[in-house]
Homo-oligomer: 877 residues x 2
């Protein structure tokens, strides 16, 4: 007895905990049968181990031995024999993997019917029509799923029979035509398969089991697993279960029941029910279902039994359950149960409610662990109310939520439209700082180029505004675009799902929910769990972002990028003057102007975050980012010529142009090549802090050097910072520390050395991912990344979800070596991964002191950090 387990097999531990072996469905069927003693049609499970064995070695004789034995026991239990001419046993064969893969794998019903046993079913049920309809359905299902005959050839013939009988519904097809259909279906099988439809029920059973095994590696299943990150080598279990028929008569029926309302979380049973129907009929929606409450009128005894069962399930699973059940001639059978999916709203309400219900007695920790980031996303962002939408293109979901509006193709047009009172979507190839006012006015943003750290993506996320970037299939032509054959012109309504990256034709209805009482409650509990262990900060470059993030619960700024301060319309000309400066005096003048401007920015940000730490990263991007595009100027020079000013900019842009700017003169290297720059920034920052301190505030400043590769480099940068600080003299109650980004692999590997001159590390996991993989986001995140993920070369986009094996290992090495170099080292992370729950889990486990993410991800990070603390048993710092 290795591969096959009866539902009532006595396992050494609770079956519900054996999903690895029995699959989810099998585990719950065994739990209901052997632990809860619920009325479950008997059957057995062929384990996932058998599937793995099959994938490796094909069908082995032991399968036959064990399945025969299990079938014999089932026959004895049911007092029916499979294929019996008078009292046949019929079974269903269903897949059931460890993780639910809805609709991805196959099911065969009514197995055991053949030319002889169909008469036995007639005898048993005294219903000839039912017997032939069941056989007809079985051949069709088995033909399609096990034998690979296209479904349409059966459907076409059935439609012909309906026409012949002038039947308006399937149930009006007369028995005699059903028996003809049985014969012609068998002929179809013979013709398409080249062999007769198998009459031996054991051959049928083996065929169905093999089909389920094979369906694990079906295209749909593989694609689904890739999307959901389910490993390919788990395999699926197969459940063979005695058939019960909800479509026997009007004393029968079938339904899907939730123990509470999965939309609202209300503690009332909820579901759909159909009299005289099979499960398929409920799901297919061919007849209008009745609400679950209808059972009370029609089957009062069963209603009571069902509610009692729901109660037991909830108490047993300590959660809301989703069930399938069938009533066969007045008897209730439970066919399936599992912990049910739910909306964000419902998840929050249930989690909080269940902590107050003594029967369930959920702990706060358990309640926190039950909430997913998707649940919070739903509550935080507008959502579409329907999934029936016309998706015309897909891109990278860069900023979550739903947005609807008319398409406009320039920032000016968006502003004009919103001033007319319209809702507008900004559609651009890519965005630049000049588009910022249009982006602010728009409901959402789509770009045909760019990755998850493109300008559009970063800005939109900062504002919590839905955005989709890198939509390759969109071709913008003037004031219109085409995408996969659809055409959208200016003013046409489109909708964006910033969570999934779908661009949708037309206006889809959107719902907005206010964060509920339970939302605050759960996040409060999450905070209690992680406080003193992992902090959550935000990435914010402006006072507004900082204030916003603080509202969302941010405990400081983990990354304040100063380059955005350089790109503002009134700053860029000064920055360019600094770059173009031909004398030291000119350069000093420009730096002085920038210092005064930055001082104001810093003051506002420090004020917004007063008392909380603010990590300011000194200038990071290569200087050519502040200069115009060389190709544009080259063309202009060759055609209409350049002004003198443009000529100078062109020369500078060429001088600073780099072959691989990502690996060029940026970060601290820029500081080394332009020594006045960092001093200027530090002085502006210190002056702002001192000014606040003088006015009774408590600024808490962390100065961060980007792109360090070596200890000596950080030592030098540190000396500039310290010189600038000491040149500002005494300034009382200002907390200042100096640290570095760890974003090159070398910095992680040499972290022990670097930590000796750094008070804190902040892992820049974006760049660390770029360098560890050798992936330029700008270049690989579109088509190449999609191909890599489609082909299973990478489990997921490592820029969205941290690569635990590679980049994660460097983070672990960096933290371990860093703390070896300086035990008191504070360690954070400020890449995009700081807002991704799976990444947060890896990072918290690796030992970070805080994560930092965009303002709108702060609640999700608070939750995810708490969950990681619970999962990994992180201790107080």
């Amino acid at each position: 007895m290795n591969f096959v387990f009866d539902f009532d097999f006595h396992h050494a531990k609770a079956p519900r905990d054996m999903r690895d072996l029995l699959g989810g469905k099998g585990a719950n069927l065994a739990e209901m049968t052997s632990v809860l003693k619920l009325p479950v049609p008997p059957g057995f499970t062929i384990s996932t181990q058998a599937c793995r064995e099959y994938m490796h070695s094909g069908w082995i004789p032991q399968f036959d031995l064990e399945i025969d034995a299990a079938l014999g026991r089932l026959e004895d239990k049911m007092k029916k024999r499979i294929g019996d001419p008078t009292n046949p046993l019929l079974v269903s064969v269903r897949s059931g993997a460890k993780f639910s893969m809805p609709g991805m794998m196959d099911t065969v019903l009514n197995l055991g019917l053949n030319d002889i046993s169909v008469g036995g079913l007639h005898d048993q049920t005294q219903d000839e029509r039912f017997a032939y309809d069941s056989y007809r359905r079985f051949i069709q299902m088995y033909g399609r799923i096990v034998l690979g005959v296209k479904g349409e050839v059966f459907d076409d013939l059935f439609d012909a029979a309906k026409d012949l009988a002038s039947a308006r519904s399937d149930s009006q097809v007369p028995t005699v035509l059903l028996s003809y259909l049985v014969n012609s279906y068998k002929e179809i099988v013979l013709r398409y398969v080249g062999a007769a439809f198998p009459q031996d029920p054991k051959e049928q059973l083996r065929g169905a089991i093999e089909a389920v095994f094979r369906s694990w590696n079906g295209e749909r299943a593989i694609a689904y697993r890739q999307r959901e990150g389910i490993p390919d080598d788990l395999g699926t279990a197969v459940n063979v279960q005695t058939m019960v028929f909800g479509n026997r008569d009007d004393n029968s029926g079938t339904g899907v029941g939730f123990t509470r309302n999965p939309s609202t979380g209300e503690a009332l049973a909820y579901g759909d029910f159909l009299v005289n129907a099979q499960g398929e009929d409920v799901v297919a929606g061919v007849r209008n279902t009745e609400p679950l409450s209808a059972i009370a009128q029609r089957f009062p005894v069963i209603d009571k039994e069902l509610r009692e069962i729901f109660g037991r399930l909830e108490r047993h699973y300590r959660d809301m359950c989703d069930t399938e059940f069938t009533i066969e001639q007045g008897k209730l059978w439970m066919l399936q149960t599992r912990v049910g999916k739910r909306t964000g709203l419902a998840a929050l309400k249930m989690a909080v409610d269940m902590t107050n219900e003594p029967d369930i007695g959920l702990s706060r920790e358990e309640a926190v662990l039950r909430i997913t980031s998707e649940h919070l996303d739903q509550v935080l962002h507008p959502q579409f109310t329907t999934t029936e939408v016309e998706v015309i293109a897909r891109g990278l979901g860069a900023s979550p939520g739903a947005a609807v509006g008319k398409a406009y193709f320039s920032s000016e047009d968006v502003i004009a439209a919103t001033q007319r009172g319209e809702r507008a979507i900004l559609v651009r190839k890519e965005t630049s700082p000049e588009d910022v006012s249009g982006m602010l006015a728009a409901e959402g943003i789509v770009t045909s180029r760019g990755g998850l750290v493109s300008h559009a993506a970063v800005v939109a996320r900062g504002w919590g505004k839905p955005a989709i970037v890198g939509v390759d299939s969109i071709h913008i032509i003037g004031r219109s675009f085409v995408a996969n054959g659809f055409s959208v012109v200016e003013g046409d309504e489109i909708s964006l799902n910033g969570t999934t990256g779908e661009v949708i034709l037309g206006a889809v209805e959107v719902s907005v929910s206010e964060p509920s009482f339970e939302f605050e409650m759960i996040l409060g509990w999450a905070d209690d769990i992680r406080k003193g262990k992992v902090a959550v900060r935000t990435n914010a470059d402006t006072a507004q972002d900082a204030a916003n993030a603080r509202k969302f619960g941010a405990e400081g700024i983990g990354l304040c990028r100063t380059e955005h301060m350089f790109l503002a319309e009134d700053r860029l000309p000064i920055v360019r003057r600094m770059i173009l400066a031909e004398t030291e005096a000119d350069e000093a003048d420009a730096l002085e102007e920038l210092r005064i401007a930055q001082r104001i920015d810093f003051r506002e940000i420090l004020l917004a975050m007063d008392t909380l730490p603010v990590t300011v990263r000194l200038l990071d991007p290569p200087l050519h980012e502040f200069l115009p595009d060389t190709e544009f100027l080259a063309i202009k020079e060759a055609s209409i010529g350049l002004t003198e000013e443009e000529g100078r900019l062109y020369k500078a842009a060429r001088a600073w142009r780099e072959v691989n700017p990502m690996l060029g003169t940026r970060g601290v290297r820029l500081g080394v090549m332009k020594p006045g720059l960092y001093s200027m920034q530090v002085r502006a920052l210190i002056e702002a802090a001192r000014d606040l301190a003088d006015n009774g505030f408590h600024p808490n400043v962390e100065i961060m050097i980007p792109l360090t590769v070596a200890r000596a480099e950080l030592e030098l940068a540190r000396s500039w910072v310290e010189d600038a600080i000491s040149s500002e003299g005494d300034f009382g109650d200002v907390a200042i520390s100096i640290g570095t980004m760890i974003e090159t692999p070398r910095a992680a590997i040499c972290a022990n050395e670097i930590a000796q001159v750094a008070e804190f590390f902040s892992f820049g996991t974006n760049d660390l991912t770029q360098m560890t993989f050798g992936f330029s986001r700008d270049d690989v995140e579109g088509k190449m990344m999609a191909t890599y993920i489609d082909q299973g070369l990478l489990p997921s986009n490592p820029f969205k979800s941290l690569d635990g094996d590679g980049v994660g290992e460097l983070v672990r090495i960096g933290i371990a070596k860093g703390r070896q170099g300086r035990p008191s080292l504070k360690v954070g992370i400020c890449g995009e991964h700081g807002g991704d729950p799976a990444s947060i889990d890896i990072l918290v486990d690796a030992g970070v002191d805080y994560v930092s993410c965009s303002p709108f991800r702060v609640p999700i990070a608070r939750l995810a950090a708490a969950q990681a603390v619970l999962r990994h048993g992180v201790s107080d710092k």
Copy 2:
């Protein structure tokens, strides 16, 4: 007694092994005194520990105590007192660090003279002129070195005295004027220093010792240490030694003697000698020296004594020694000895000879360890015969050796010039495949742009042709260039030192030596040492390179780049057709043509390396490298317009253009995006191998996938290779293995996974360095790298010498994890570092099975690998 040691102090171990504490000079003085009992003027050494203490805490009282005591012992021994009015002791004070830093630190002679003791010296020597000249020299030397007075003010006054006396040489200045000079020198000191010249000999001594200590941190010394990689914290020792005078009379003299000829290695004493002179006079070259053999005539007894000492030194040091000696009134004094520097030719000859001399009895291992890569370089490449050259610019020494010729600025002009019989140097901003014929015709190549892996650098190294790249200071204007104020026009003669990166004005004489008998002998011994432990392969892309490398001893090809096969003039149009193909059929046609062309290339290479392994790397560079420059075409389009063909190329070039091509769609990623490409290459390779096997040859093929980041990716690439192999059917005796480059940090970190599907690894340390540091060579290797090294932020250019702490650690991790994943994994390295001895040392220690380098570096790699095997005790594989 902690800081000061008399030369005859009884140390616990041999003084020569105490260079850490005593410095090189001090250790050898003690060795000569206490072990060899040679006639060394007595004295004592103030240890490097004292210098370190001084740098940390300044002068401490214990120094005075110990120095006073040592001085007292010296006075007793010499029976003279320092500063004595009748019989004064004079001493020299010389620096002596662990590593020789010639001319970098300071020396004071004749210390102990003052207004009183100068009379004592007169009494002692009965030579008033000598006494005042010595005092005059002492004030001048002490004034300059210890007190910081500029040397010119003394020199100017001395010149005035010479004019006054109408003296033609220093020795003609009369005594009376020397006594005036003493007075005026003291006045100079008073005026410039603000204090009188110190009369107290102990004050003089302390001043001189402190000056030596301080000179350790002088600018010249720091710069020298940076260049030579000597740690800054070692400090220097100070040697205080009784003065002896070779300039006493004609029965005195001084010389520099080598125990054998340092130029040729001939086993005959060699050196320079001057009668009646001080050491400075020999070095300064103010008088013509006589050969050492002159001593035999003049001082036959001393000649015998000296030769006997030379013999003892050689037997004792078991090596050629370099000595300084002085004869004072017929008595020989040894002032210094050390193991002498030598030319490559001499090094080889001495190493081999000494294994045959029973007195010295060098083992072969010791002989191998005595040869440096510079020695071999000198023997392998033409060298300048003089160092007196006019360096007009410096760049990166990309390919070693000396070249002389007339400057030409285009490939055509170089070819025309060589056809006229001229020697030509090609001077270009950068080179491209179109320049190849001109490069081949030129004696050497200079480019103003590019790094050590630029086209010019890689091609020149492959041919062993001298090249200098990235000479920033050269500005090419038409058919001339200017550099640091010098101007060179077409046809002007220039010389290149490809070893040092110096561009020299005019034609410098060059010597070429044929590898000697000893060269072959030493390399043979080196091979015996490393065989079975570390192999040496070559990077070769053509049959000619392969044949060349085999001559130099390469044991296979570690890297055959296939992209060079794509860039040939007849191939590029086909490659472009493949890229531009609009249908699959067009693409397949182009690939087919390439396959036939590549098959020929592969056949030639495999034939040239028959029986030895040939590692073929499938196509690596991004496709846009095969397309024209977009900016060029953009300008052309905007001005005179594009042809239809150009228009298509422009479109393709734009489509394939990348922001960071280094981190873009290249290597295996290209294979994933263009699946037919790798199959084509593998088929061409397999067909070539089969063809050879069919003709009785023994091709040994290793197929290498570049830029792998994940196991699944290599699995996929492997499947293409295996499919292509199996589609070729059976082909008998062809050895084929499949492996991957490890050149992304992730591949190193995840090597255990990757090794499970790779039979071999080859570390691509160029790219690994780029990604580990985040350094794009194209962008950082010029000005930025120079600044980083100048400022001490990096110890050296990590592209030239492997970064042991960062990149080296990743290599160690990669090898350890790789062998964990597959114990039989073969590991090599094929970056530029494979030809650099320091890098080879790190890599052999890390456990590589082979290193691979350019053909002309193979002998150096053979030697360096053997040395690393000896140093690290590598065991058989």
